[in-house]
């Protein structure tokens, strides 16, 4: 029946033509290439759980009164948005699970994008011809961060509302257009009534559509240019070594989708996230301590906290308000430099050639050290967003924690760079550093020096790698299916035709000895020209 269906579609759309290429497509196997898939599958989970949430969430700032099982909110006036979120958490079956899975998935989504970006950076995967894909990816990172901010602000609770107030103020700090931007985006002065509905449309429709479009472009480019790969296993600039799309890659990637979903579901089951009922509805005159944004905006909050209280005033007018530097200039520089990095590196190294093979991070010590230093800078800023919490847990004065971070934010990257550089150089110098170790025999010379020679392979050792089989120029017949004659499994009849055409190779039916008995097996070795039909 499936054959019939396949033929029906195939005869109308012609899948078979390009389909074979897709089926035989090779994916390099390295585990670090799956980090992007973590992000991809988190996006899928976000869409799925998000659809559920849109069925119950009410994106409105209109006043409503809650009556329900959670008593501290019973009879309290709140926005419809907050009320629907409380109902989702307490009164809708699976509602809390979907909320928590959605929020955890968002954290994992941005985290995976950042780790994926680091992987691509440290292995040089952004080099020609993949600069465009890097730029698309960076745009997705920015949109993901922004969409996450919009998403956790939708419930209109005390903590996220404080964050929105801060973003309104930050918008206002932009010279010339700041007050206009703030008034336009928010529909007036803070807080206004357009806030939640506009955030909702952006979060549910506009930004996901753009991200999905960029994602499609990202994957299309990846398919067209083929994935990069590490050296070794016979990999060169002109081939791709790995596992075929069908059946291996599809099985593993689908399995991975379920694994990511499992992690999200278990986190959503066991660890509470964004308990908005404990925070209460947003009131502009109420605030709580120990408030930070979600982690992917933590570096901005840290910057706001440690920025000294400078302000540019000319002739009595404030030209550059204080919050402009850490909240607008810092992310502006960050994302611009990140996005332009392929071209910056091309300038520095003068290397404008195509690269299909990846570097190991240790092979490019300066790039790796620079990336590590920059990462440590942003991680320190993220740490600075929790100055009060740290001061409390370490029983240290708040003032000294803040001053320490003002120093650390420069000291940590300055220390990280040479340390990372040294580690790379040491790893390069170590013979076989990081590789699966082979057994060695240690020999001591008469003068007292030591040397090693590798020992013979032993039975339990990892089996040796085989030569890669080129799928685009070979015929695959499933050899693991034991069959008396291969015609039964050779749907294309290629083997029989090749035999009839006398294309048997010099080895002939050498495999007959491994066949199944008296029947002459047609397993054999054929020499098949590339365009043989």
């Amino acid at each position: 029946m499936i054959n019939g269906l396949y033929d029906w579609i195939d005869d109308r759309v012609n899948i078979s033509g390009g389909g074979r290429k897709m089926v035989n497509k090779i994916f390099p196997d390295h585990w670090s290439f799956m980090i992007g898939e973590i992000a991809l599958y988190s996006f899928v989970i976000l869409l799925a759980t998000g659809v559920f949430l849109t069925l119950y969430f009410v994106p409105s700032s209109s006043d409503a009164v809650y009556t329900g099982p959670y008593l501290p909110l019973d009879g309290v006036h709140m926005s419809e948005a907050f009320l629907s979120t409380v109902n989702l958490s307490f009164s809708v079956r699976c509602g809390l699970l979907m909320r928590q899975m959605h929020h955890w998935s968002a954290n994992i989504f941005v985290g995976a994008i950042v780790v994926h970006m680091c992987r691509v950076f440290f292995t040089g995967g952004f080099r020609r011809p993949r600069e465009l894909n890097w730029i698309i990816g960076m745009n997705m990172l920015i949109l993901a961060i922004f969409n996450g901010f919009l998403g956790y602000s939708l419930p209109d609770d005390l903590v996220s509302g404080t964050g929105i107030r801060i973003s309104y103020s930050i918008l206002e700090t932009i010279p010339l257009v700041g007050t206009y931007l703030a008034n336009f985006l928010f529909g007036g002065s803070f807080p206004g009534n357009s806030l939640i509905p506009r955030f909702y449309v952006l979060h549910v429709l506009i930004l996901p559509a753009i991200i999905a479009g960029l994602l499609g472009a990202h994957l299309t480019l990846l398919v067209r240019q083929k994935h990069t790969q590490f050296k070794g296993h016979g990999a060169t600039e002109h081939n791709v070594i790995g596992a075929p799309m069908w059946p291996t890659f599809i099985a593993k990637t689908n399995g991975f989708l379920f694994l990511v979903a499992a992690v999200t579901a278990i986190l959503g089951a066991l660890v509470q996230i964004n308990p908005i009922w404990l925070y209460g509805p947003y009131r502009p005159y109420v605030v709580t301590y120990a408030v930070q944004p979600d982690w992917y905006m933590g570096w901005l909050d840290g910057g706001l906290r440690i920025m000294p209280h400078w302000q540019t005033v000319i002739a009595g007018h404030v030209i550059i308000p204080n919050a402009f530097w850490p909240a607008i200039v810092l992310p502006g520089i960050t994302f611009t430099v990140l996005m332009m990095w392929p071209f910056i590196e091309q300038r520095i190294t003068g290397d404008r050639a195509d690269h299909q093979l990846l570097d190991r991070p240790r092979d490019r010590p300066k790039r790796t050290a620079l990336g590590a230093a920059v990462l440590s800078f942003y991680f320190t800023l993220f740490g600075a967003s929790a100055t009060d919490v740290l001061a409390n847990y370490l029983h240290v004065s708040l003032n000294s924690v803040l001053t320490s971070f003002q120093i650390l934010v420069f000291a940590v990257p300055i220390v990280t760079y040479p340390v990372a550089l040294k580690i790379c150089r040491e790893l390069q110098a170590t013979a076989g550093g990081g590789k699966t170790k082979l057994h060695n025999i240690v020999i001591r010379s008469a003068e007292g020096g030591y040397s090693t020679v590798p020992s013979e392979r032993r039975p339990g050792d990892t089996p040796p790698e085989l030569e890669p089989v080129a799928l685009d120029t070979s015929v695959i017949l499933p050899a693991l299916v034991a069959s008396p004659s291969y015609e039964a499994v050779d749907r294309s009849g290629l083997g029989a035709r090749a035999a009839a055409d006398g294309l048997e190779g010099p080895e002939g039916n050498g495999a007959a000895a491994e066949g199944n008995g008296a029947e002459p097996t047609r397993r054999g070795v054929f020499r098949i020209p590339r365009n043989y039909r």
């Binding site: 008034n183 803070f190 120029t473």
Partner: protein, 316 residues
């Protein structure tokens, strides 16, 4: 035993392939055991999903719902990955990779096709394209108007309006007026102008300190001798850094702390909410108070400056 990879330079290459090559064998040395294990994990996944259904039916807690769902996904995921890793052809396989750079011939062909037909279109009709371009430019500009301008009102004269006015009575959040006996020495209260309880920009922190020995009012700065009657001081609750409510008051150290980015303001005699620590660049505006005939607190005048964080061209 061997297979040579295809040459990427266009010649049809004969390929030798052995149909029982080791690359097609499964990766595992013990496929039967793996099969049983994969089956077991799939069953676990099935049990997980069934458990999820049951948990939903009986309205179980979030931990049960998510745990069963997670178990289901975990079982399926581990099983499918194991199937793909251990029960499939071990490979490796390869395909050839061609440079994306087109040949010069290909480039020339498209340029020729494009420009040869294009010449007929555009030649001597340049003025048409110019007018079309101008129309398009005008459209591009005016389409921005509904997209952007309709979003909101213009900022009102660059001042951040708060609704305090002369003789506004101070009220608490529930609307009741604030009497001079309401707040103890060392106490704090969030107040608003009457009629705007809960106002985002008019929110004000009222604190009370013991005046210095021999004095009745607290004078925070020259010119503000009457602003702090009977130990009361009122400051805007909107932080001058990024707008959070400055809700913390430390009554022994006489400081107001903003919880968002820890801007610290000194409050008291000769200290008009001066920022002493943290990123806030300006002191909090002070509301001048007086006590009316009935003993209720009122504002002498509105704030003498816009409240909240700085913005472009703000007159300091």
């Amino acid at each position: 035993m061997s297979a040579s990879t295809g040459d990427s330079h266009g010649e049809p290459t004969p390929v030798t392939i052995r149909l029982d090559a080791d690359q097609y064998k499964v990766a595992a040395a013990n496929p039967r055991e793996i099969e049983w294990t994969v089956a077991a994990t799939f069953l676990l996944g099935l049990a997980g999903f069934a458990g999820f259904g049951a948990a939903y039916w009986v309205n179980a807690s979030n931990a049960w719902l998510g745990g069963t769902l997670g178990l289901g996904f975990l079982g399926l995921g581990v099983g499918m990955v194991a199937w793909g890793k251990y029960l499939m052809p071990r490979g490796p396989f390869s395909e050839s990779r061609h440079s994306m750079v087109p040949s010069q011939a290909e480039k020339d062909r498209i340029i020729t096709d494009f420009s040869s037909r294009g010449k007929v279109v555009v030649e001597r009709r340049v003025f048409l394209t110019k007018i079309l371009g101008a129309a398009g430019a005008v459209f591009g500009v005016v389409v921005m108007f509904p997209l952007i301008r309709s979003l909101g009102p213009l900022p009102k004269g660059f001042s951040v309006a708060s609704t305090w006015h002369k003789d506004s009575p101070l009220v608490k959040i529930d609307g009741t007026k604030v009497h001079l006996d309401d707040v103890e020495y060392g106490g704090m209260l969030t107040v608003f102008p009457e009629g705007d309880a809960g106002g985002a920009l008019s929110q004000t922190m009222l604190v009370r300190q013991l005046p210095p020995k021999g004095e009745v009012n607290i004078v925070t700065a020259p010119g503000r001798e009457t602003w702090g009657p009977l130990g009361y001081m009122a400051f805007s609750k909107v932080c001058t850094h990024a707008g959070c409510p400055v809700g913390l008051y430390q009554e022994v150290t006489h400081q107001m702390l903003c919880p968002c980015h820890q801007s610290l303001f000194d409050v008291g005699p000769n200290k008009p909410a001066i920022p002493v620590f943290g990123p806030a660049p300006r002191p909090l505006p002070q509301l001048p108070l007086y006590v009316d005939a009935d003993g209720y607190l009122r504002a002498q005048a509105p704030y003498d400056q816009p409240v909240g964080p700085s913005f472009w061209w703000r007159r300091d």
